[in-house]
Symmetry: C2
Subunit: 149 residues, 2 copies
């Protein structure tokens, strides 16, 4: 079985995408991370959902979570502001986690190997230099378990 | 809003759980990872879906994904065997990724802060030393986006 057969349509963002749009894409389908593409449309990194969570929590609260209780109620508005005023490029970590990428013609086992090697929660499937879909780790396990019977 | 109000029922496994059962739990709801509890039922680690993928891909294929094409068709049977003959304890990495944990009475912002600090894809919510549910990063973003309107 080829990677393209297992791949599903998957949201792709770039450095200029609104952070709020990215958050909504992750939220809507409860995805573990988004595929980030460069200016040429080639997949370049994964934006994990936990990184977006990092972005919306002020650093001093991350360092001292007990402070979170103090400012709880005003938080939602500020979070909305932070997200709508920012881009994916701004919320990417300095060293983005590696994204597994395979070609549409590669086998599902090659896809699994790429994902395993990079510990990537998602693997982009490309054809002609463009992302044609992706497979999350749990989607791959769904496929494997269906084979196990 | 309290963590317990946002938490959803979430599968919990321990070191003795069958690896195949763990794979199926991840697959069924497309979860980013499972909450692993110790012998006392206290949450101790997260088992990322990508770690289960690692386990089912032979090491030499991870190192050289092009080898995957060679052995594709026999793979499903072997994967089934590997999973059904193993436990969560066996497929946990030597240094398991940290699991965010908050108390049922903690606020959602405290939950976000714990998740952000540990870059955890899921946060367990405990009460009386037991896991009463969990929140994934994308579930948290769903909540945040619903507040943004």
């Amino acid at each position: 079985m080829r990677a393209a057969e297992l791949a599903e349509p998957y949201p792709v963002v770039n450095a200029g995408t609104s952070a709020l749009v990215a958050a909504r894409l992750l939220a809507d389908k409860r995805l573990p991370g988004l595929v980030v593409v460069d200016a040429d449309g080639a997949p370049s990194a994964v934006l994990p959902a936990s990184q977006v969570v990092r972005f919306i929590v002020p650093t001093y609260v991350q360092d001292e979570p007990s402070l979170a209780g103090v400012l709880d109620e005003q938080a939602a508005d500020r979070i909305a502001e932070r997200l709508s005023g920012s881009t994916v490029g701004q919320l990417m970590p300095d060293k983005p986690p590696a994204l597994a990428v395979v070609h549409a013609d590669d086998t599902v086992l090659e896809l699994a190997a790429a994902m395993a090697r990079l510990r990537s929660p998602v693997c982009a499937v490309v054809d002609g230099g463009r992302v044609v879909g992706a497979v999350t780790a749990s989607h791959l396990l769904e496929f494997v378990c269906s084979k196990v019977g």
